[in-house]
C-alpha cells in the first residue's frame, strides 16, 4: 500500500521534471530552431538521468 | 529490491561478461577496425580532394591574374610601340617637310639666280641692241634731218615703232 503511494509520488515528481525539461526544450527550440539538434540531445540526456533517478527510487521502494 | 536481487542470476552475469568480451574482441578484429579505418581513409580522401580542388582553384586564380598581367603588359607595349611609331612618323614627316622646303627654297633661289642672270644677260643684250638701234636711228635721223624736218620726225617715229616691234 505504502509502496504504491510512494510509487505515485515518484511518478508525480518525475512527471513534473520531465514536463519542465520538455517544455523548456520546446521553448528553446522555438526561440532558436537552428539549435534544435543540440537541445534535443541535451534534453534526452537530462531526461535519461531523471529517469534513472525515478527508476532507482521505484526499484528501491519495491 | 529483494525481488531484484533474487532475480539476479550470477551465472547469466558471468556468461554476459564472457560473451561481451569475446564479442568486443571479435567485432574489433573483424568489423570495427576495418570499418572505421575505411571510413577515415575515405574521409581523408574526400578532404584531400577538397583541398586539392581548393588549391587548383587558387592556382587557376593566380594563373588568371598572371594572364591579366601579361595582357596588360602586352597592351602597354603595343601602346608604347604605336606611340613610338606615331612619333617616328611625325618626325619623318617633319624632316621630309623641312628637307623639301629647304630643297624647294634652294631650287627657288637657284631659279631666281638663273632668272636674274638671264635677265641680266637679256638686259645686257637689250642694252647693246638698244645701243645699236639708237645708233642706227641716230644715223638715219641724222641723214633725214638734212632734207626735211617733218620727214625727220616721221622717220624717228617710224623707227621707234620699228624698234619697238623689234
Amino acid at each position: 500500500m505504502y509502496n504504491l503511494i510512494g510509487a505515485g509520488l515518484i511518478v508525480i515528481g518525475g512527471g513534473i521534471g520531465l514536463g519542465q525539461i520538455g517544455g523548456k526544450a520546446m521553448e528553446g527550440i522555438a526561440r532558436q530552431p537552428e539549435a534544435a539538434g543540440k537541445i534535443q540531445t541535451a534534453m534526452i540526456i537530462i531526461g535519461a538521468l531523471l529517469e534513472g533517478l525515478a527508476f532507482g527510487a521505484l526499484i528501491l521502494g519495491k | 529490491m529483494d525481488q531484484l536481487l533474487n532475480d539476479f542470476s550470477p551465472g547469466l552475469f558471468f556468461m554476459q561478461i564472457i560473451i561481451l568480451i569475446i564479442l568486443i574482441v571479435l567485432m574489433r578484429a573483424f568489423a570495427w577496425k576495418p570499418i572505421l579505418g575505411a571510413l577515415s581513409t575515405r574521409e581523408e580522401g574526400i578532404q584531400n580532394a577538397l583541398d586539392s580542388a581548393e588549391k587548383a582553384k587558387l592556382e587557376m586564380q593566380n594563373l588568371q591574374a598572371d594572364n591579366q598581367k601579361l595582357l596588360n603588359e602586352a597592351r602597354a607595349e603595343r601602346e608604347a610601340m604605336l606611340k613610338e611609331a606615331r612619333e617616328m612618323k611625325n618626325t619623318m614627316i617633319d624632316d621630309a617637310k623641312t628637307e623639301a622646303e629647304a630643297q624647294a627654297s634652294a631650287m627657288i633661289a637657284q631659279a631666281q639666280a638663273a632668272i636674274e642672270s638671264e635677265k641680266k644677260a637679256a638686259m645686257a643684250e637689250l642694252k647693246s641692241h638698244v645701243a645699236g638701234l639708237s645708233v642706227d636711228i641716230a644715223e638715219k635721223v641724222v641723214r633725214q634731218e638734212l632734207s626735211n624736218k617733218d620727214k625727220q620726225l616721221a622717220l624717228v617715229d617710224s623707227l621707234l615703232g620699228e624698234a619697238k616691234l623689234n
Binding site: 532507482g56 | 532475480d7 539476479f8 551465472g11 547469466l12
Partner: protein, 375 residues
C-alpha cells in the same frame, strides 16, 4: 544525416511489420497456456504468465497445444556448478516442469527447477521447501552457467552483428568505398555512433580508443531490444544480470582510463576548502562507482521490462475484457492499443541503446577530459 534518418526510417518500417506479427502471434500465446500447459484466462494466470515471460528460461518455448498437451519448443543445454562440480545436461530432462516437481539426477546431485531457477536438493529431500521470505530451506541455489534463452539470444545477436558488420568490413577491404547491400544501412549507423555519440562526448583526440566498446554495446543493446519485440519472446536486456554486466564494463573502462586530472578532481578537488575535500571525494566516488552504473543498469532493465509488461498486458486485454465487451471488440481494442505501444516500444528500443551508449561515452568523456584551466 539524411541517409541515416532514411535508413532508420526503413528499419523502423521493417520492424513495425515484424511487430505486427508479434502482436498477432502473442495474441494467441496467452490462450494456449504457460509452460505447464494450463489455459490462461484469469487475471492471476495472465499475471503469472507475464512474470514467467519476463524471466529467463532454460528452453526455447514457442507454444503449447492444450488439446494434445504437446509443447512446441527446443531444449537448450544446462550447465550448472553444483556441490559435486560442473554438471551438464539438456533442459529437456526437466520435461517442461517449472514448479519443482520433476527432479533430475545429474551424477549424484538432485536438481529441480522452480520459476526458472535451478535448486540443488539436500540429500534425501524430494521437494523444495520455502520459508516466509522465499528462501529455500532444504535446498541450495546452484551457479547457473546454462545456455539459457537469454544467452542463446545474445549468441544470436553476436552472430547477426558479426555477419552484418563483417560483410560491411569485407566490402571495404575489397576496395569499395561505397558499401553495398546491408552495409548501406549499417554504415550510417556506425557513422551516427561515431559522430553524434562518441566524438562530441569523449573528444576528438581520445574517442578512437573507446569506439569498439561503444559500437559493440550500442548495436548489442539495440538488436537485443528489437529481438525482444519479435514473437520469439526474448527478454535479454530486461535481465538485470545482463544490464549489470554492461554497466560494470562502462565503470571499469572509465575507471581505468581516467586521467590524473580526473583523479585529482575526484579525490582532492582543487579550489575547495580543505575541510570539504574528503566529503566531496566520498560523494564523487560514490557517484562514479555506484550511482552512475546503477542508474545505467536500472534504466535499461526497467524500460525494457516495463515495455514487455505493458505489451503483454495489452495483449491480455482481449481475454480480460472478453466478458464485458465481447470477443470482437476486446480483440480489436487490444490490437489497436498493442500496435500503438509497439510503435513506441520500437522507439524505446533505439532510445535505450542510444542513451546507454551516450551516457557511457559521457562518463568516459568526464574521465579522460584534460582540464586546461587550473582553478
Amino acid at each position: 544525416m539524411v541517409i541515416a534518418k532514411k535508413s532508420i526510417k526503413l528499419l523502423a518500417v521493417l520492424f513495425m511489420v515484424f511487430g505486427m506479427f508479434t502482436v498477432q502471434a502473442e495474441n494467441d500465446t496467452p490462450q494456449h497456456g504457460d509452460v505447464s500447459g494450463n489455459q490462461v484466462d484469469t487475471p492471476e494466470e495472465i499475471n503469472s504468465y507475464i512474470q514467467h515471460h519476463l524471466k529467463d528460461s532454460h528452453d526455447f518455448h514457442f507454444y503449447t497445444d492444450n488439446s494434445t498437451g504437446k509443447h512446441y519448443s527446443f531444449p537448450l543445454p544446462v550447465i550448472v556448478w553444483t556441490s559435486e562440480g560442473l554438471k551438464t545436461f539438456m533442459s529437456s530432462a526437466f520435461h517442461h516442469d517449472d514448479a519443482g516437481h520433476e527432479i533430475v539426477d545429474a551424477g549424484g546431485v538432485k536438481l529441480t527447477k522452480i520459476h526458472s531457477k535451478i535448486y540443488e536438493l539436500n540429500p534425501g529431500e524430494t521437494e523444495v521447501a520455502f520459508d516466509e521470505e522465499h528462501h529455500a530451506t532444504n535446498a541450495s541455489k546452484v551457479i547457473d552457467f546454462s545456455i539459457t534463452k537469454s544467452v542463446f539470444g545474445m549468441l544470436v545477436t553476436g552472430l547477426i552483428m558479426l555477419l552484418g558488420f563483417g560483410a560491411l568490413a569485407r566490402g571495404y577491404k575489397k576496395g569499395n568505398t561505397i558499401p553495398k547491400g546491408v552495409g548501406r544501412v549499417l554504415e550510417p549507423l556506425v557513422l551516427y555512433v561515431r559522430d553524434e555519440i562518441a566524438r562530441p562526448n569523449i573528444g576528438e583526440k581520445k574517442y578512437k580508443k573507446f569506439m569498439s566498446f561503444l559500437l559493440t554495446v550500442f548495436f548489442f543493446i539495440w538488436i537485443l531490444n528489437l529481438l525482444g519485440l519479435t514473437p520469439l519472446g526474448f527478454n535479454v536486456t530486461g535481465q538485470i544480470a545482463v544490464t549489470a554486466a554492461m554497466a560494470i564494463f562502462t565503470v571499469v573502462i572509465y575507471m581505468f582510463s581516467g586521467t590524473k586530472d580526473f583523479w585529482a578532481h575526484t579525490l582532492w578537488m582543487p579550489g575547495v576548502p580543505v575541510i570539504l575535500r574528503p566529503i566531496l571525494a566520498v560523494i564523487e566516488l560514490v557517484g562514479f562507482v555506484i550511482i552512475k552504473p546503477f542508474s545505467l543498469l536500472i534504466r535499461l532493465f526497467a524500460n525494457i521490462t516495463a515495455g514487455h509488461f505493458v505489451v503483454m498486458s495489452l495483449v491480455a486485454l482481449m481475454i480480460t475484457m472478453k466478458a464485458s465487451f465481447g470477443p470482437a471488440a476486446s480483440t480489436g481494442m487490444s490490437l489497436i492499443l498493442t500496435l500503438f505501444i509497439m510503435v513506441i516500444e520500437l522507439l524505446v528500443a533505439f532510445l535505450q541503446a542510444f542513451i546507454f551508449t551516450m551516457l557511457s561515452s559521457l562518463f568516459i568523456g568526464m574521465a579522460v577530459e584534460e582540464h586546461d584551466d587550473h582553478h
